[in-house]
């Protein structure tokens, strides 16, 4: 029995180190001084230095780290043309000593080289070659090749090879421990053919194979997906697209080394009709419980139908209607039986509301129904948004919401929830200074009818912006309070303040662009249990340089 085919991190890390050498060669070969080619070079660097102070008996709850820390983000981009080939090189590096920013002190964020003559395209390093939703829609660290011959009957060919790592640290495997990840090797090929002017079809094969466990109990997977996708435009404005995929998966569990084989299928069909005054979307999707894709996008055990209609009734009135239904337990495999979800909604947008030039009202009703053998939930959601301008200078944005959570069967629950918030803002120019005052008032109330309890949140804040465009200076200051009052459980009170300043001094313009910035943040959390109280102050100063 094969519990893990560990070709190993050593092999992959060596490969990636070679890849780095190749990319670096590519970068230097692409250097304009070496090649005398048409070339553009861009670099940006953002450096910031932060001081955090956390105090109080509950300071362990803070997500910040006490003391000084730095963060540096460097990006280099080199692109140009040489003898009919366009090339592009990207490199990014992140440096920090704060583990809440990143687990590593130094990590490569981007490493990519691409060269193309419009027919042949070769990409090395960071590779994002989207095949289709089910087949491949994740980035890999590796390489891809694409052949496209426009205006010919030769099919478009795409090949991908790499590792589906989230970070370059994983690919290099230089570090043990903190950033170790399962080595998920990805190989894929795709053929796409235009069959006439209005129809194309594609065939994809994608295989992903795990090769190394991070934890002894991790499962390893070998996944193969065979996918067909297409798009057809039968009449102007109407697009019909579809995808069908078969998957084979083998799983080797870490616990007992047992091997499990799964076979699944997924397909979807979508029709979008888009032309004034309507946009209509119809969609059907069925993904079997055993369908698996490790580098595509799919939620197994779903049958879904969807209809959406956006209708522009007049210039100022438009309507949105939607209906979504989906269910699980497609093979009857769940002992609890199937669950059905129904989500209809209707909404209207009314511009020039009540004849007001800037008045826009959005009103919507949404219903969520969840239904199975044990429970039947009805959530009724009503939302109202109104935006307007008063007295020619005072902008307002008001939201009202009401939700009724009505649980019919298993756990008796009936909750009412109200949300309400309004913000008023304005903008005044006084000589070379722009003043932007703003106030915010919001709240949330939840009432449980059965246990007769009420929880409430209040928040109010005031802000003030001051910009001096001639000096390339912008700033905002904001302060406020947020309070959670609970019938049962802890009450919480948070007092907050923040200050942001951005300044583009003239001397940095000599480089290309640059900005100095300063950010300050203060939060004071108080609880019913004073042993949880804590305060956090964060000060950050930074410099952005762009060449």
């Amino acid at each position: 029995m094969k519990t893990s085919s560990i070709t190993g991190v050593c092999f992959s890390s060596q490969s990636f180190r070679w890849l780095t050498v190749i990319l670096m060669c590519f970068f230097f070969l692409g250097n304009p001084f070496l090649l005398k080619a048409e070339n553009e070079f861009h670099a940006s660097n953002e450096f910031s230095y932060t001081y955090n102070d956390i105090s109080g008996p509950g300071s362990s709850q803070s997500s910040l780290r006490q003391g000084f820390s730095y963060l540096n983000l460097l990006n280099i981009n080199d692109l140009g043309n040489y003898k009919g080939f366009d090339y592009n090189f990207n490199f990014g590096l992140k440096l920090t000593d704060d583990p809440t920013n990143d687990q590593q002190t130094a990590s490569i964020t981007n490493l990519q080289g691409r060269i193309t003559n419009k027919v042949h395209t070769l990409n090395l390093g960071d590779t994002f070659e989207t095949f289709s939703q089910y087949a491949l829609s994740s980035a890999v660290k590796g390489a891809s090749y694409r052949f496209v011959k426009e205006n010919s009957y030769i099919p478009e060919v795409s090949l991908v090879y790499g590792y589906a790592y989230s970070r370059w640290d994983n690919a290099f495997a230089i570090y043990d421990g903190p950033v170790k990840a399962v080595a998920r090797q990805v190989m894929g090929a795709r053929l796409k053919e235009n069959l006439g002017q209005n129809f194309w079809a594609g065939l994809s094969y994608v295989q992903s194979q795990d090769n190394d466990r991070v934890n002894p109990t991790d499962s390893l997977y070998l996944n193969r997906a065979y996918t067909f996708d297409m798009e057809y435009k039968p009449i102007p404005g109407l697009t019909v697209s579809g995808e069908a995929s078969l998957s084979d998966q083998k799983e080797w569990t870490g616990n007992d080394g047992s091997e499990t084989t799964r076979h699944g299928a997924a397909y979807r069909l979508t029709a979008v009709g888009d032309a004034d005054p309507s946009r209509v979307t119809l969609e059907y999707e069925r993904i079997s419980p055993n369908f698996t894709t490790l580098v595509g996008s799919a939620t197994p055990d779903r049958e879904k139908a969807k209809a959406k209609w956006r209708y522009k009734y007049t210039k100022n009135i438009s309507a949105n209607l939607g209906f979504l239904w989906f269910r699980d337990n497609l093979d009857g495999q769940k002992t609890a039986g199937r669950t059905d979800y129904y989500k209809p909604e209707i909404g209207f947008t009314l511009k020039r509301f009540l004849g007001r030039a800037y008045g826009t009202a959005d009103i919507a009703y949404k219903l969520d129904v969840t239904s199975n053998n044990n429970t039947e939930n009805y959530n009724h959601i009503v939302t109202l948004n109104y935006q307007d301008q008063f007295f020619g200078f005072l902008d307002s944005d008001t939201n009202l919401g009401y939700t009724l959570y009505d649980n019919k069967i298993s756990v008796e629950e009936r909750n009412n929830e109200f949300t309400y918030n309004t913000s008023l803002s304005s903008r005044h120019t006084l000589g070379m200074v722009v003043l932007k005052p703003a106030v915010y008032l919001g709240g949330w109330t939840q009432r449980s009818e059965l246990v007769v309890s009420t929880d409430q949140i209040y928040e109010y804040s005031a802000g003030f912006g001051l910009d001096v465009p001639d000096w390339k200076l912008t700033s905002t200051i904001k302060a406020g309070q947020n309070r959670l009052d609970k019938s049962v459980g802890q009450d919480t009170d948070k007092t907050f303040a923040s200050f942001n300043l951005n300044y583009r001094p003239p001397f940095l313009k000599k480089l290309n662009q640059g900005m100095l910035f300063f950010r300050a943040k203060y939060n004071d959390f108080s609880y019913t249990n004073a042993g949880n109280n804590f305060r956090e102050t964060s000060l950050t100063a930074g410099l952005i340089l762009e060449i």
Binding site: H42, S62, S63, N75, N77, L79, D86, N88, K94, T96, T100, N101, D102, Q103, T109, N110, Q112, T116, N117, E129, A139, N151, S166, R167, W168, P178, A181, V182, Q197, V214, T217, K233, I235, P236, G237, P277, V280, T281, T293, G296, S297, T299, K306, Y311, F323, L324, W325, Y342, K366, V369, S371, I381, T419, G442, W444, L484, Q490, D491, T492, F525
Partner: protein
């Protein structure tokens, strides 16, 4: 069922509403059909459909493999023939001829200047001089001066600000209409998040951005602090997650998200399309559909996050109980698992089976597979009589006779007393329940419901069959795959 009839009524009502609106303008369903004889079937800018781009298009150098923008499409002229196709980049001030094929397909490419906005129109004419609706092709296209990373940061900053401010409308305006987890699910999930969390504090640094012509893949490291409105307690975590963005009118828009989600976490099973493999076992925040929240070890998170039956109970002592379809675990305030494993009552596999034995080959039963099989299994039957089956138990399996009791009354298999006398036959008595300790170390129960015998006369064939006694044994079984001895009802 009750809910089905209600659902039917609801669907029909909804359909009626749709139909009533349909009367507002006749033939709304005839997409784009017009009186114009000359029209454009499809129009693309660098392989993105004009229908999906919106009025304003922002592109980045990183998204232009050859540094060029190509406008392509196909024109039709009813019974006539397309005679010309041209493109304006300056608001119809000047026109450039596009390459036109015999069938009406056309293409025009140009090398854009960074930072410049192009006001694009496309005009196609038939040989009689009739043209398409040129105004409908208007698009403002800009090749951004900024790099794609700053554009993604701007989109993420807007999303986070809207999420922290509980602003669902602004947040959803930054989500692609074809969001892979479905826009409706995400809309409901973030509203549930807003109801469940206060004082949201979300920070990130980018790990990686990679783009192709269809989208932008983003990996980021995040840290967050949430206040649960259910308990008044704060929870925090940090980790790595991934997004795919698509270009929108004014901003990049979310196309898909992976676990651990930073938005819509109360609807993770319906919103996320995959899980980023964790690089540590640091605690990760998980929420159930009711908005209850807990921190669990990353390994546990990966196993349960897509299970829509997850229910979380926040206990008065600060611990949380997380119950899934096959597990119940308890975690402390710091996300460390203090107890857990499978819930014995929920992992038990059970069923009713019938073994029919004609002497040879013996017929057996496997608890692991729940299947009756020929010449294999944990126990096998070769004969018997009224009220008992006779056979043997596989050598690596031990068993104990619990006596005349029903399987339902046995809540726990005994810890000791198992045996398998090698080479000895076994009588399985009707009405008795037996406990088995299997070769894989796990436990099974079996109650003999009935045993009958029937004489089957011989058959000269072909193939010839000798006369035999047919033994039919009906039994109920339970198998506990978790390894526990408990078989709670």
């Amino acid at each position: 069922m009750k809910y089905k009839s209600k659902s039917l009524i609801m669907i029909m009502s909804f359909a009626l509403v749709l139909l009533s609106f349909a009367g507002a303008q006749a033939k709304w369903w005839i997409f784009g059909e017009s009186d114009e004889e000359v029209s454009i079937s499809y129009l693309f800018v660098n392989k993105s459909s004009f229908d999906e781009t919106g009025a304003k298009i922002t592109l980045f150098k990183e998204m232009l493999p050859d540094g060029k923008i190509t406008i392509s499409g196909k024109a039709v002229a009813g019974k006539g023939k397309i005679g010309s196709a041209r493109v304006s980049l300056d608001g119809k001030e000047t026109w450039k001829d596009a390459n036109l094929s015999e069938g009406g397909a056309f293409e025009y490419s140009f090398s854009p200047e960074t930072g410049k906005t192009y006001s694009i129109f496309v005009e196609v004419s038939d040989t009689l001089g009739k043209t398409n609706d040129v105004a409908a092709t208007a698009r403002q296209l800009t090749l951004s001066e900024r790099n794609i990373m700053s554009f993604i940061r701007e989109a993420l900053d807007k999303l986070i600000a809207a999420y922290e401010n509980h602003d669902a409308k602004t947040f959803m305006s930054l989500v692609s209409e074809d969001f892979a987890g479905d826009m409706t699910n995400l809309d409901r999930a973030i509203r549930k998040d807003f109801s469940s969390f206060d004082d949201i504090d979300l920070n990130y640094t980018l790990n990686n951005i990679t783009s192709d012509s269809k989208g932008i893949s983003v990996s980021l490291s995040y840290r967050r602090l949430l206040m649960s409105t259910k308990t008044g307690q704060s929870v925090k975590d940090k980790g790595v997650t991934e997004f795919v963005f698509k270009m929108g009118d004014k901003s990049a828009r979310i196309y898909s998200m992976k676990n651990p989600l930073i938005f819509g976490i109360t609807g993770a099973p319906n919103v996320a399309t995959g899980t980023v493999a964790s690089t540590t076992n640091d605690p990760v925040i998980i929420a159930d559909g009711r908005g209850n929240v807990a921190e669990v070890p990353a390994q546990t998170f990966n196993q349960i996050v897509m299970d829509d039956s997850v229910r979380i109970t926040n206990n008065p002592d600060g611990t949380s109980t997380v119950k899934t379809s096959d597990k119940t675990i308890t975690v402390d305030k710091n996300g460390q698992q203090t107890s857990g494993g499978s819930n014995p009552s929920e992992t038990v596999e059970k069923g009713l089976r019938t073994i029919i034995s004609l002497g040879h080959p013996p017929m057996g039963f496997s608890f692991v597979n729940g299947e009756v099989m020929t010449a294999a299994g944990d126990f096998m039957i070769t004969g018997g009589g009224p009220g008992f089956g006779y056979g043997f138990v596989e050598p690596s399996v031990t068993f104990v006779d619990l006596g005349a009791k029903s399987i339902g009354s046995v809540n726990e298999a005994p810890a000791t007393g198992y045996a398998n006398p090698a080479g000895m036959g076994v009588r399985f008595e009707e009405g008795h329940t037996y406990a088995f300790k299997l070769a894989n170390g796990k436990y099974g129960l079996m109650e003999v419901k009935s045993v009958t015998e029937e004489w089957i006369p011989g058959n000269p064939g072909p193939p010839p069959q000798p006369p035999a006694m047919r033994i039919t044994m009906r039994f109920e079984y339970k198998y506990q795959p978790s390894g526990a001895r408990q078989f709670l009802p």
